[in-house]
């Protein structure tokens, strides 16, 4: 029986140059659920993702995936393990076609994977990508670009998807659609870990919430419980959780 937690941070310390951002971060991500990470600026949310995906050296502590240590492993290997990462902002190659952008999702696939079939399957799911397959990716709208990024990640059929602020720059309607898509992915068995600015809306769509502050985990609970916690507002406006 697999553990209930898919991904686990254990006392992770990491940062940039002389600056330390994560001061011993520990939390676990429940399998098959959608978890949202919230916290004020500088809490270390994005840093935690980067550390997990091997883009930032972990100075001490461990990160476990499926109870196996993945601390400081290269992105390419983590993709092989079944982790996919959708960073903040625009991460497509604007001058290449949509189809070719999509293809990059399969670069790290093991030999013998039928990528063609998978691309077809993904395009079946996202009609807009099929419609615009031959267009330059730069012609996609912001929401479509984000969908392209997520679709690209799905190509390797990951077990865990890390999504950093997917709703930035999207209109409210698009954000709704995006969250619907994420819920659907979770139903399909993918564990989701997401960072969101728009904490309320994200928590309403999630199963669990994790609150970070100053590089440490402050609170972890069901999304509903966190939503109704009066201290959360205070956390964002100063004073911290203990106040």
């Amino acid at each position: 029986m697999a553990a209930a937690e898919l991904l686990k941070f254990e006392n992770v310390v990491a940062g940039y140059g002389k600056e330390t951002i994560l001061h011993g971060l520990s939390f676990a991500v429940p399998r098959g659920a959608m978890t949202t990470v919230i916290g004020p600026n500088g809490a270390g949310k994005s840093t935690a993702f980067k550390a997990a995906f091997g883009m930032l050296a972990v100075r001490s502590g461990r990160i476990l995936f499926e109870d196996r240590e993945i601390t400081n492993r290269a992105p390419r290997e983590l993709i092989g393990e079944g982790i996919c990462y959708v960073p903040q902002g625009r991460n497509i190659f604007p001058e290449l076609s949509v189809l070719h952008n999509l293809e990059f999702g399969g670069v790290a696939a093991p030999k013998g994977t039928d990528l063609k079939a998978r691309i077809e399957a993904v395009m079946d799911r996202f009609a807009v990508l099929r419609r615009k397959a031959r267009h330059q990716a730069s012609t996609l709208s912001g929401g479509e670009q984000k969908i392209l990024e997520i679709a690209r990640g799905l190509l390797l059929q990951p077990r865990l998807m890390l999504i950093d602020e997917p709703s930035i720059g999207l209109s409210p309607l698009l954000v709704e659609e995006l969250f619907a898509l994420l819920r659907e992915l979770r139903k399909g068995g993918i564990t989701l870990l997401m960072i969101e600015q728009n904490a309320k809306r994200a928590l309403e769509n999630s199963d669990y919430g994790v609150v970070l502050e100053l590089g440490r985990m402050r609170l972890q609970d069901s999304a509903r419980a966190i939503l109704s916690d009066p201290r959360i507002g205070q956390l964002f406006l100063g004073g911290g959780l203990s106040a």
């Binding site: 600056e19 600015q197 728009n198 904490a199 994200a202 100063g238 004073g239 911290g240």
Partner: protein, 248 residues
């Protein structure tokens, strides 16, 4: 009270995206004004427009009643406006002392007199005082690049005060500074304000820090001012909480 800075209907857009959308406010003499707001609400862009680092698309900035919109940063600085940046911006290959003297030298004499005059531009004593004030004396002759992050941050802030500015705009002075250093920094800023009557505008994410430091706070969201008032007022304003946590 005198109004030091007047900002009227300032706008800045990049391509189609409006980053600052008609912001107006005043800063009174010896006031410490805080500006807060979620990521991407346009705080730093606002600073850059006020300081001439970016050309505003529209609007008007006045310093002591004088129009300074779009003036070059170096000229504005010589009028007594100094600033710090969100990310650390020191000169790593100069010593700590040289960093400080550099920050003041352009206010001394003419270009020519700076060449033929004293190498320290007559600022050694002032630099010494500043070192003492920010408790960096023991590091005066180190290369600034060798300091710890917190010490560099202190130096960064100290540089903004070398020329005895009339107005200082500080962009996230507390970012990345550890709690002990933070208390030190806040206390120093308060002291400068009290001793010299300098006027501050501070952008900050660290709420505890900003609430304790500032007399008045503006809240920016999506390029507009959505609330302002004392720290206590802002803290309990539902619009502010919504701006941070999102609408349901």
């Amino acid at each position: 009270m005198n109004t030091v800075l007047q900002v009227r209907d300032l706008r800045k857009s990049f391509g189609g995206i409006v980053a600052v959308d008609g912001v107006s406010f005043d800063v009174e003499e010896s006031e410490i004004l805080g500006i807060i707001g979620p990521n991407g609400s346009g705080k730093s862009t606002l600073f850059n427009c006020i300081l001439g680092q970016l050309q505003p698309s529209a609007g008007d900035v006045r310093l002591d009643g004088r129009a300074v919109t779009g003036m070059r940063p170096c000229d504005l600085n010589r009028l007594g406006v100094s600033r710090t940046f969100q990310l650390l911006q020191i000169f790593p290959h100069l010593t700590v002392r040289a960093n400080l003297i550099l920050a003041g030298q352009e206010h001394q004499g003419s270009m020519l007199s700076r060449l033929v005059g004293r190498p320290d531009a007559g600022l050694s004593a002032a630099a010494e005082r500043m070192l003492g004030f920010f408790r960096l004396e023991h590091l005066a002759d180190e290369d600034a690049g060798g300091l710890s992050y917190g010490q560099q941050k202190l130096l960064d802030v100290a540089m903004a005060f070398m020329a005895g500015p009339r107005l200082a705009l500080l962009d996230e002075p507390a970012g990345g500074v550890n709690p002990t250093m933070l208390a030190n920094l806040r206390e120093r800023l308060k002291a400068i304000n009290a001793e010299h009557g300098s006027t501050f505008v501070v952008i900050e994410h660290n709420m505890e820090f900003v609430m304790a430091l500032c007399d008045r706070i503006l809240v920016l969201a999506e390029g507009r001012i959505i609330a302002q008032g004392t720290p206590a007022e802002v803290r309990s304003d539902p619009k502010v909480i919504e701006a941070y946590l999102g609408r349901g």
